[in-house]
Symmetry: C2
Subunit: 286 residues, 2 copies
């Protein structure tokens, strides 16, 4: 399997995300895997696939307790196509929470991502939703976003925009446009939702700067933090649809942020996410 980087249904019946995040234990706290062509981005692998792979290393660790609660991934450098190596160790295990430290390397030993995660055992108890899911049409009433011209990772998702569908031109809008997008998204190839797919989806919102500018600029995620609001058994089976809402608060001198929410169709907040981003100013040559 070491050279199997694209999931070919003829030889591999696993979902592309399961292939992309597949890990083999090589020691008590170490794992090897391989980047995925299915989740390729502009430069390097889609950050959401990398986040899911780092989370999976902790999730598959024999010492793991509970389910993912918080995940932070810092992207140190683009990941090249090829094998990867992950270390994941439980820094501290409490009665109901467990703190993880993960790192991702490639052949030359240089670190490509650092990450931390908190896993937690939830006990049934008081529940209160402050945020409410936006009222939106159902996915079958909406057109599918034409993903073919975009990076491979985009083609892994069926996206149906309610507001903030990307309008990317050759030159920026005269005035910055709203940063918000609301869309349904799910895996193109059906796969039951879990914390891995939610981790990946938390990075599946297009860079808000493209939305605001209406033009492409060099852009990347520097740091991604996702909070998971469901235990594994509480993630609705459903049909895989998740309602996403993305926004941003500021773009300032090369760095900005963006935020996102992921909702189940029955109105349950599954995950919230923020990211710190870098960008370069738009130039006619680009």
């Amino acid at each position: 399997m070491d050279t199997q980087t694209t999931a070919d249904p003829a030889v591999d019946t696993r979902h592309p995300l399961d292939v992309a995040t597949s890990l083999t234990a090589t020691g008590p706290d170490s794992w090897t895997g391989h980047t995925s062509k299915d989740y390729w981005a502009f430069i390097g692998q889609f950050g959401g696939a990398t986040a899911a792979t780092l989370l999976r290393a902790a999730r598959e660790h024999p010492d793991r307790i509970g389910d993912p609660l918080a995940l932070t991934v810092n992207y140190c450098a683009p990941i090249a196509e090829g094998p990867i190596r992950i270390t994941a160790r439980a820094a501290k295990t409490n009665r109901t929470t467990q703190h993880w430290i993960m790192d991702l390397f490639q052949q030359d030993g240089d670190i490509l991502a650092t990450a931390t995660a908190v896993f937690a055992k939830r006990r049934p108890g008081w529940t209160h939703d402050v945020a409410r899911m936006p009222q939106v049409p159902s996915p079958d009433q909406l057109a599918r976003f034409p993903s073919a011209p975009f990076a491979k990772w985009v083609q892994q998702y069926d996206m149906r925009f309610i507001t903030g569908s990307p309008l990317i031109g050759k030159t920026p809008h005269a005035e910055p446009q709203p940063a918000e997008s609301i869309l349904w998204l799910r895996d193109v190839i059906a796969r039951p939702l879990d914390h891995l797919s939610l981790a990946a989806m938390s990075d599946a919102f297009f860079g808000r700067i493209f939305q605001v500018l209406g033009a492409m600029v060099p852009f990347g995620t520097v740091s991604l933090t996702t909070y998971f609001h469901c235990a594994a058994e509480d993630i609705p089976a459903g049909d895989g649809w998740v309602l996403g809402r993305a926004g941003a608060s500021v773009f300032r001198s090369g760095f900005g942020d963006q935020s996102g929410e992921l909702w189940s169709p029955d109105g349950r907040l599954l995950a919230t996410t923020v990211q710190a981003t870098y960008f370069r100013d738009w130039k006619p040559e680009e």
Copy 2:
């Protein structure tokens, strides 16, 4: 200074936050410090002071480039009064960004906090504010929140609530109340704003669950992520006031989240922050 845990103006002219976050290098990547009685919380030290101390370890490292962009602190266990030990190392240094890994220990060697940070060199460039500061009365038109009955750390801040002033009773409200609070806050003892004080203030919003319930329950921050939107030289000198807005999106089976914004009085977004929290359900005995 090793036993000096409370800043006494008679013997120490430094600001309590500078005393609380004071570090002595003990090796290329290691530091010692001491907890602060001035920033004591219910159990252990105020998480904001701990976050600022971890950030300071990276900031004071001789290899550091740029200014804080992103900070994540995972609180593994309460910090007891006494000496602390911090390790801080640059995992990866790029041209404009630098990735840090920090850990905090106490005497017995057990890890009490893990953290990561990204520092960045900002170059002047395109800037666009998506979020806008709430329109609010100025601090001199508002009453100061009576902090005396609260934990020591609360007494380090002058807080002036515009909305969502804490109303904590013996029993919860009949119905959950809004999670939002908007307040001015600044250090009681004047201190120029910097990334350290912003890191501390990012944890200075009272637990949103108290606001929603109107009653106290066992509560703590599990993980805190703060994004800084200003280079050091762009943090307004001003008079120390920062407008804070705090909210939450969900409380579910023992774990929840909260979010915050910190604005300069001239309407500049200085920092945004999220945290994953734990809580226990309210019980009459507590």
